[in-house]
Amino acid sequence: MKIEIRDLNLIYKNGNHAVKDINLDIEPGMFGLLGPNGAGKSSLMKILVALMKPSSGKVLIDGEDIQKVRKKLRSCLGYLPQDFRFFSRLKTWEFLDYAGSLAGLKNRRERLAIVDDLLDKVGLLEARDRKANKLSGGMKRRLGIAQSLIGDPRILVVDEPTTGLDPDERIRFRNILSDLSQNDIIIVLSTHIVSDISSTCHDMALLNQGELVFSGSPDKLVKEAEGHVYNLSLTQFEYEGIKDTLHIITSIPSETGWDVQVVANDVSGYNSKPIEPNLEHAYVYYMEHKLNGSGIAI
C-alpha cells in the first residue's frame, strides 16, 4: 500500500492557505510529520483521512483518488484526531465497541474480545467500565489510541498522539506503533515532539507554514545539521552575551559558568567543540536557521 500526495493545496474560506503544493509519497512503515504548531499538519491529516476535501491536488492510495474511494479508505483507516474528546455518557469499553462495530467487526463476541485486548494493550482494562468524564487526560488519550487501532487498520493516522502522555506512556505508545509498523501498514504520525519521530520513524516530512520543507529519512535531516551543533563552555559573562543571539538547545550550569549546546554556523571565539547532531538539533537547525535564514555568526 502506498499513499501519494500530489500538488495538494488547501485554502480556507478566510483565505488562509493551510496546505501549499505538497507532493509526498508515503510507504508502509512509520512516517513522521513534523512541524511547528500551525504548520498545516492537522489540515493535511484531515485531508488524508477524508474529513476534508483539498482545494486542489489529490491524495492517491494505491493509485486511486481517496475522494473517489472514500469507502475503501475508511475501511482500512484508523484515525486519532488531535483534539480528541468522546461521548461522556459512554463507558470506555462501550466507546471502543462502538468504534469497532463501525470499523466492521460484526461478531459481537469477537469484537468484545478485541476491545478488552486493546484496553489491556493501552493499560485501560481496569477502567473498562468507567465513563469518559471520569478518565484522566492521559487515559483519554490512550483510549483514543485504542480506538484508532481497532479493526486492524492498514493506514493509521495519528495526530499529536503523545501530547499529555507521561514518559512511560509515551514509550509504551511508541512501542505499540513500532510493533504495528512491522505489519506492512502505513502509520502517519504528526507531532511537534521530535523524539517521537527520531525513535520510531524511518521516513519523515517537515512542514512549515503549509509547505513541505523537507522529506526523507530522519538521518538525512540530521545529516544536514552536521557541523552546525556545538558544545560551548561559557563564563557567565559570555553566556549573557550569546543568550539572545544563538539558538541554545541545552544550557547546564557548570563550575566555571555554563555548558551550552547551540545550533550555529560558526562559533569561533568561544571555547567550542562540535558535537554529533541529533534529530532535535537538526529540527532546530532546519526551522530556525535554514528556513528563516538567521545567520548564526558572532
Binding site: 472514500r70 486519532l80 468504534a99 470499523a103 480506538q147
Partner: protein, 1150 residues
C-alpha cells in the same frame, strides 16, 4: 448496499447516550409517573372510572398516547437539535466520521436510535395502560387500538419532529433559533393551526379527531392514513435531506443517488397525501356552499307534498340502489309545472316515471327537476317513481354547518371525535332522513329564511335487502319477504331512517307501546348493572311515559319506540328550523355506542357512588332501589331534560339535549305553517316542546344575562323578520324563538284564560295530528272559540321591535281570612309607561310547596339546582316561565296595555315565600324578577278581591324631590387605569368585557369595574351594578347629578344585602334573589366621598350591617351645581360594588 449493521450500531449507541441524558430521564420518569397516575385516576376502580373513556376502550391507549405525544413532540426537539449541535463540533465525532459508514446509514442510525427510545417509552406506557385496562371494570380491551394508535399518533409525530428538527438545525445552524422555530410551530399547532384547513397542519394530532368506534372502527381510515402518511413522509424527507447537506464528506455516490431517489419518492408521497387530505376537506366545504347556492335558486319554487312512499332498497358494499314510489299531492295552493325534489348528490338517478310514464328530468347538484309537461292543479294527486343508486355525501346534509373543531367541538376528554352524519359501509349503514337518501319534496335549508321548514307527514313502506349476516332496522313493524325485510308503518312519519348492522335486540311491551333496544354484541353491559329491576322495568317505563304524556298533554303517537346503538361518531348538527336533533327520529332514538357520552350512562358507577353516599349517611337502601334510581335518573337526564351547558363569552349557555323525547309530542305529529310568518313552527316548537325541569342554568350563576334577556336585547334592535334575514347563529335563533314562542302562548293564555286555552289547544293538536295546519286556520278557530284574533298580534310579533317596560311598586302580602280560612293576599302595582303593550306572568313559591325543586318554574329566582334531586321532585317537569304545554306553576298572566298601570291582587291558599315575575318580552333586564316576602301583614279585615284595578295614572318611579343616578345613567362614570398589558392587547387577550353583563365571581373579582345584573339591584328596567376586586383605592366610580334648587339634601346609596331584601317601601325591584348571598357577604367597608358645599367628606358604610336598599350617607347643603358621590375600591372585603345614589331634598332648610 445499505449496511444494517452500521445503522444498528449507530442506533444502539445513540440510544444509549440519549437514555443516559438527564433530560430524557427526567422526561420519561415524569411521563411514566403522570400517565400512570392519570390511568389510575381516570380508569381504575380506585379512581374515577370515567365512563366516556371506559365505554370506548380504544380511548384508553389513545388518551395516553395523545398526552404523551404532545409532550414528546416538544422534548424531541430539544434532543434532536442537541444531537446535531454536537455533530457540528466535529472533533467529537471525527473518530466516527472516518469510519466506513455512509451518511445515510449514520443519519438513519441516529434517528432510529432516538425513535427506538421514544417508542420504548410509549410501549411501557401502553403496557401500564393495558394493565389498568385489564383491571378496569365494565370495559373491553381493544388490543388492536394499542398498535394502531401508536402507528397513527406517535410514529408520524416523532418522525416529523425529528426530521423537522434536523433540517432546521442543518439549515439554520443555530440551536436557539431552531428551538424557537420548532417550539413555535408546536405552539402554533396547539393554539392556532390545529383546527384550520381540516387539521391539515396538525402534525402532532392535537386536534384532529381519530377516535375509534367499537362498531365501525376509525371513522375514515383513508383520511387518517393520508394525514399521518403526509407527516411521516415529510419527516423522512427532511431526514434524508439532512444526509445530503450533512457536514461530512459523503461516502459513496450510489448512496447519494439512492438518497435522492428516496427524496423524490417521499416528496411525491407527501404531496399526494397532502392533496388527498386537503381535497376531502375542500370538497366538503365546496359541497356545502354549492348546496347553499343551489338551494337559493330553488327555495321559492312550489313543492309537492309526499303522502305515501314505498322504497325498495338494496345495500351492497358502500352503495345503495333503490326504487322509490311516491304518491304526491299538490298542496302548494298554486299550479305546479315542474316538480322539484332533493336527493343526496352522491346518488345518481337513472330513471323517473310520472304516473307510470317515463318522464324527463335534470339534476342540479342535489335538486332533481322533473319536467312533467302538464300543470298539476292544486289538490291533484300524482305518482312519481325514482330509480337511483350510489353513495351518500354527508357534507350535503347540513350545508350551513361549519365543521371547524374549535367552533363546534365534540370530545371525550381532550380528544376530538369526528362528527358523522351518516354511514354507508359494507358492514354498517346509518341513513337518517336528513341525508336525503330518498327523494324529498323540499329543501334541507332555505337560505333566505333559515327558520323555514317544510314537513310532509308521509306513510312510509320500506323494503331492504342487505347481506344476510346483517340486520336492517327502520321505523315500523318488520317482516321478512324473501331476501327483503319489509317495514310497514301505521302512522305517517316526518322522515324515515334506515340502519343496517350486526345488531342484537330486546323487546319490552308496555301499555301497548313496543320498546325495542338494538345493540351490538357485548354492549348490553347495562343488563348486569340493572339486573334487579327486570320485573319493575315495565312499571318504570310506564311511569316515565305517563309523566311525559301528562306534561305534554298528548299521547305518545307511535306504536313503538326503538333505542338503537349507533357509532360514537354519529352526531347531528343543530338546525335552525327546528330544535329537534337527528338523534331523535320519529319512534326512534339513536344512542351513542355503550351510552358513552350520555348523562349517567354508567349505571355501575352511578350506583356505586350512591351506595357510598348512602353508607356515609347511614341510610339503608336496597340494590334494587339504587338501580331504580340510576335508571330513572338516566332516563330523566337524557330523554326528558338535559342540563348541559357551555361557557361562552363569560356566560353560561344552555346546550339543548340531543336525545329529548319532546319532538314525539309535537314536532313529529303536528305542524303549523304560514307563508307570511315562515318561522311559526319553530317558535311553536320552542314553546311546546320545552321541558325545563331544572330551572334556568344561566341564572344559577348570578350576574350574567339569562337567555331570555339576551334574546330581548337582540329583539330591541331588530325585528324577528330582519333577524332571520341576517342568518343568525343557532344559539341566537334558539333563544329568540323561545322568547317569541313564550310570548305568543302567554298572550293566548292571557286572552283565553290559562286553563281554558290549554284544554282547547290540547284537543286541537290531537285533532290535527299528522296534518299541516295553516296558521290562518288556527287563527280563525281561535277567534271562533275565544273571540280573539291573533293575526294582528302576529304581525307585530314578527315585524315589530317595540317592547314594554315594567316596574312594580307597593308590593305587599297580607294574611287574610276568607270563609273562616286563612288566605294570603298579595298585591302590587304594575306599571308599563312604554308605548308598547306587553305581558308578564306571575309565579308564587309558597310555603306549602316546599322543596327546592319547586323552583323549576321560577327561573329568575336562581333556585338551587340539585341534579340528583331532579329524579325525585314531583314538580320537576314544568314549564319554566310559563313555557310548555302544561305551565301549571303560572298563577297569573297579566296583559298590560301601553301607558298603563294596574293594581294586581292575587289570593293564595298558602303563605307566599317568593314571587317571580317573568316579563317575557320587555325592556326589563333581568326580565325575570324575584321578590321574596319577608313580612306578612296580618289583616283580618282586608277584602278578598282578586280583580285587577286599572289606575288612572301611572305611579312615578321617582319622587319630585329626588334625584337618582343609577350606574346605567349618564351621570355615572368609571375611573380606572388600563390594566391589561400591551402584549395582551395585541394578542387580543383582554379577558375584559366590562361593558357586557357578566356573571359575578366574588372569589376572582375582576380588577376593573365589571357590569353585572340581578333583580335585587337598583334600576327602573335594567337592574344592574358594577363591581370590582377590593384593593387600595386605585379604582373609582362616581355618580354626579345637577342640582337646581339649593338646600339640604339627604344622600343615599343603594346596597343589596343578603337575606334582607324587602318587598315593601318603594319596592322598586327591591326583591332579593336567594343566591345573592354568594356575593353580598363579600363586601365589608365601603368608602364614599361625598362632594358638598364645604368640600368633600368621606363616609364609610359597613356593608355587612347595612340595610337592604337605600342607606343614608348623610345630609349636606348643596348649591345649584353638580353634586357628586365617589366610591373607591378601597376595602378590607373581597369586593366593592356600586349601584345607585339618591339625593333627596329636605323640605325645610335646616
Amino acid at each position: 448496499m445499505i449496511s444494517l449493521h452500521n445503522i444498528r450500531t449507530v442506533a444502539r449507541y445513540e440510544a444509549k447516550t440519549l437514555r443516559r441524558s438527564w433530560l430524557f430521564r427526567l422526561f420519561s420518569i415524569g411521563a411514566l409517573f403522570i400517565l400512570t397516575m392519570m390511568n389510575i385516576g381516570l380508569f381504575s376502580p380506585i379512581g374515577d372510572e370515567q365512563w366516556a373513556f371506559l365505554s370506548i376502550p380504544s380511548s384508553l391507549p389513545q388518551m395516553n398516547l395523545y398526552l404523551l405525544n404532545i409532550a414528546q413532540a416538544l422534548i424531541i426537539v430539544f434532543l434532536a437539535s442537541d444531537f446535531l449541535k454536537k455533530d457540528k463540533k466535529l472533533d467529537t465525532n471525527e473518530v466516527l466520521y472516518t469510519r466506513p459508514m455512509s451518511n445515510l446509514e449514520y443519519i438513519i442510525g441516529k434517528s432510529w436510535g432516538i425513535l427506538k427510545l421514544f417508542l420504548g417509552l410509549n410501549l411501557i406506557i401502553l403496557l401500564i395502560t393495558l394493565i389498568i385496562n385489564i383491571i378496569a371494570k365494565n370495559t373491553f380491551i381493544d388490543i388492536g387500538a394499542y398498535f394502531t394508535h401508536l402507528l397513527i399518533i406517535t410514529i408520524p409525530t416523532l418522525i416529523f419532529s425529528l426530521g423537522f428538527a434536523y433540517i432546521m438545525m442543518s439549515v439554520i445552524r443555530n440551536q436557539a433559533i431552531t428551538f424557537l422555530l420548532l417550539l413555535g410551530y408546536a405552539a402554533l399547532d396547539m393554539f392556532y393551526l390545529y383546527h384550520r384547513g381540516g387539521s391539515i397542519f396538525d402534525y402532532m394530532l392535537f386536534g384532529m379527531p381519530v377516535l375509534k368506534s367499537q362498531i365501525t372502527g376509525y371513522d375514515n381510515i383513508m383520511l387518517i392514513a393520508s394525514h399521518r402518511l403526509l407527516y411521516t413522509s415529510l419527516g423522512l424527507f427532511f431526514i434524508f435531506l439532512t444526509t445530503l447537506i450533512f457536514k461530512r464528506l459523503p461516502q459513496s455516490r450510489p448512496h447519494r443517488i439512492v438518497t435522492v431517489v428516496l427524496l423524490f419518492l417521499l416528496l411525491g408521497t407527501s404531496a399526494y397525501t397532502g392533496y388527498y387530505f386537503y381535497n376531502d376537506f375542500n370538497s366538503n366545504t365546496k359541497m356545502r356552499s354549492s348546496t347553499l347556492e343551489t338551494n337559493r335558486i330553488y327555495e321559492d319554487k312550489p313543492f309537492l307534498t309526499v303522502t305515501d312512499a314505498t322504497i325498495e332498497l338494496t345495500h351492497s358494499d358502500k352503495e345503495i340502489s333503490a326504487r322509490a314510489d311516491l304518491t304526491c299531492v299538490n298542496n302548494s295552493g298554486e299550479e305546479i309545472g315542474d316538480y322539484y325534489f332533493s336527493l343526496n348528490p352522491s346518488l345518481t338517478v337513472s330513471n323517473i316515471m310520472v304516473n307510470g310514464n317515463d318522464a324527463g328530468f335534470s339534476v342540479d347538484n342535489h335538486i332533481v327537476i322533473i319536467t312533467s309537461g302538464n300543470l298539476t292543479a292544486p289538490g291533484e294527486k300524482i305518482s312519481i317513481t325514482f330509480n337511483y343508486s350510489g353513495g351518500i355525501n354527508e357534507a350535503y346534509s347540513y350545508p350551513w354547518y361549519n365543521d371547524n373543531i374549535k367552533d363546534n367541538p365534540y370530545r371525550i376528554g381532550p380528544m376530538q371525535i369526528k362528527k358523522r352524519q351518516s354511514f354507508l359501509r359494507s358492514d354498517y349503514a346509518l341513513l337518517t332522513s336528513e341525508v336525503h337518501w330518498y327523494p324529498v319534496a323540499g329543501l334541507n335549508y332555505y337560505p333566505t329564511n333559515p327558520a323555514r321548514i317544510k314537513i310532509d307527514f308521509t306513510n312510509y313502506t320500506l323494503k331492504v335487502k342487505t347481506d344476510r349476516s346483517l340486520m336492517a332496522l327502520s321505523q315500523g313493524n318488520a317482516s321478512q319477504e324473501g331476501d327483503f325485510t319489509l317495514f310497514r308503518n301505521t302512522t305517517p312519519l316526518t322522515g324515515l331512517t334506515l340502519i343496517i348492522g350486526n345488531y342484537m335486540s330486546d323487546t319490552l311491551i308496555v301499555d301497548s307501546v313496543e320498546y325495542r333496544a338494538y345493540y351490538y354484541k357485548g354492549h348490553d353491559f347495562f343488563k348486569s348493572d340493572l339486573n334487579e329491576i327486570g320485573d319493575t322495568l315495565s312499571h318504570l317505563v310506564s311511569n316515565v311515559m305517563t309523566e311525559l304524556v301528562t306534561n305534554f298533554s298528548s299521547e305518545y303517537p307511535f306504536k313503538n319506540l326503538d333505542l338503537v346503538e349507533v357509532p360514537i361518531h354519529f352526531h347531528s348538527i343543530e338546525r335552525k328550523n327546528t330544535q329537534t336533533r337527528a338523534e331523535v327520529q320519529p319512534s326512534l332514538i339513536l344512542l351513542p355506542e355503550r351510552l358513552a357520552t350520555l348523562n349517567r350512562g354508567d349505571f355501575y358507577r352511578t350506583i356505586k357512588r350512591s351506595k357510598k353516599r348512602m353508607e356515609r349517611n347511614n341510610e339503608v337502601i336496597t340494590d334494587r332501589e339504587l338501580q331504580v334510581r340510576a335508571f330513572s335518573s338516566f332516563v330523566r337526564n337524557n330523554f326528558i331534560s338535559s342540563n348541559d351547558f357551555s361557557f361562552r363569552d363569560g356566560n353560561r349557555t344552555k346546550v339543548p339535549g340531543r336525545y329529548l323525547l319532546g319532538p314525539s309530542f309535537y314536532f313529529f305529529k303536528n305542524n303549523f305553517y304560514s307563508h307570511s310568518y315562515p318561522v311559526i313552527n319553530a317558535a311553536f316548537e320552542s314553546h311546546l316542546q320545552k321541558v325545563a325541569s331544572t330551572g334556568n342554568m344561566g341564572r344559577f350563576f348570578l350576574g350574567g344575562l339569562s337567555e331570555n334577556d339576551k334574546a330581548n336585547t337582540i329583539l330591541r334592535e331588530t325585528s324577528l323578520k330582519d333577524l332571520l334575514a341576517t342568518d343568525p347563529s343557532n344559539d341566537t335563533l334558539r333563544i329568540v324563538l323561545t322568547v317569541k314562542g313564550d310570548y305568543i302562548f302567554n298572550l293566548l293564555r292571557a286572552e283565553a284564560g290559562i286553563d281554558e286555552f290549554n284544554e282547547w289547544f290540547v284537543d286541537y293538536l290531537e285533532m290535527n295530528k299528522f296534518k299541516n295546519i295553516d296558521i290562518n286556520d288556527l287563527s280563525n278557530d281561535l277567534e271562533e272559540k275565544f273571540g280573539f284574533n291573533m293575526l294582528p298580534v302576529l304581525d307585530n310579533w314578527f315585524r315589530g321591535t317595540g317592547q314594554p317596560g315594567f316596574y312594580f311598586t307597593e308590593i305587599e302580602a297580607r294574611e287574610i281570612i276568607v270563609d273562616n280560612h286563612t288566605r294570603y293576599l298579595v298585591s302590587f302595582i304594575a306599571s308599563n309607561p312604554e308605548p308598547t303593550q306587553g305581558l308578564f306572568n306571575i309565579t308564587f313559591r309558597t310555603g306549602g310547596r316546599g322543596g327546592g325543586m319547586g323552583g323549576g318554574g321560577m327561573g329568575g329566582g336562581g333556585v338551587t339546582i340539585s341534579v340528583s334531586g331532579a329524579g325525585r321532585g314531583s314538580v320537576s317537569i314544568t314549564g319554566a316561565g310559563g313555557r310548555g304545554m302544561q305551565p301549571n306553576q303560572i298563577d297569573r298572566i297579566v296583559k298590560m296595555d301601553s301607558n298603563q298601570a294596574r293594581k294586581i291582587s292575587v289570593i293564595l291558599d298558602a303563605q307566599p315565600r317568593m314571587m317571580s315575575i317573568n316579563t317575557l318580552t320587555s325592556l326589563n333586564n333581568p326580565g325575570e324578577i324575584a321578590i321574596p316576602f319577608i313580612d306578612i301583614i296580618k289583616d283580618n279585615r282586608a277584602a278578598a278581591n282578586e280583580n285587577d284595578l286599572i289606575l288612572t295614572s301611572i305611579p312615578r318611579f321617582t319622587e319630585d324631590n329626588e334625584i337618582i343616578v343609577d350606574n346605567e345613567d349618564p351621570g355615572f362614570r368609571v375611573y380606572e387605569q388600563q390594566s391589561s398589558g400591551r402584549l395582551k392587547e395585541w394578542l387580543g387577550i383582554t379577558g375584559n368585557d366590562r361593558d357586557n353583563y357578566r356573571e359575578m365571581f366574588s372569589r376572582w373579582a375582576p380588577e376593573y369595574w365589571q357590569k353585572t345584573i340581578q333583580s335585587s339591584y337598583y334600576g327602573k328596567y335594567v337592574k344592574s351594578a358594577v363591581y370590582t376586586r377590593a384593593g387600595t383605592g386605585d379604582r373609582h366610580i362616581s355618580w354626579s347629578a345637577k342640582i337646581d334648587d339649593p338646600g339640604y339634601y339627604d344622600i343615599y346609596t343603594y346596597i343589596t344585602v343578603r337575606g334582607r331584601g324587602r318587598s315593601g317601601g318603594q319596592g322598586q325591584g327591591g326583591g332579593q334573589s336567594m343566591n345573592s348571598s354568594r356575593e353580598s357577604n363579600t363586601m365589608q367597608d365601603l368608602h364614599y366621598l361625598v362632594s358638598h358645599d364645604d368640600g368633600n367628606e368621606e363616609v364609610t358604610v359597613d356593608a355587612e350591617n347595612a340595610e337592604h336598599g337605600w342607606n343614608h350617607l348623610g345630609s349636606y347643603y348643596l348649591s345649584p351645581d353638580s353634586a357628586a358621590v365617589t366610591l373607591s375600591n378601597l376595602s378590607d372585603g373581597r369586593t366593592v360594588r356600586g349601584d345607585a345614589i339618591k339625593w333627596v331634598k329636605q323640605n325645610s332648610i335646616k
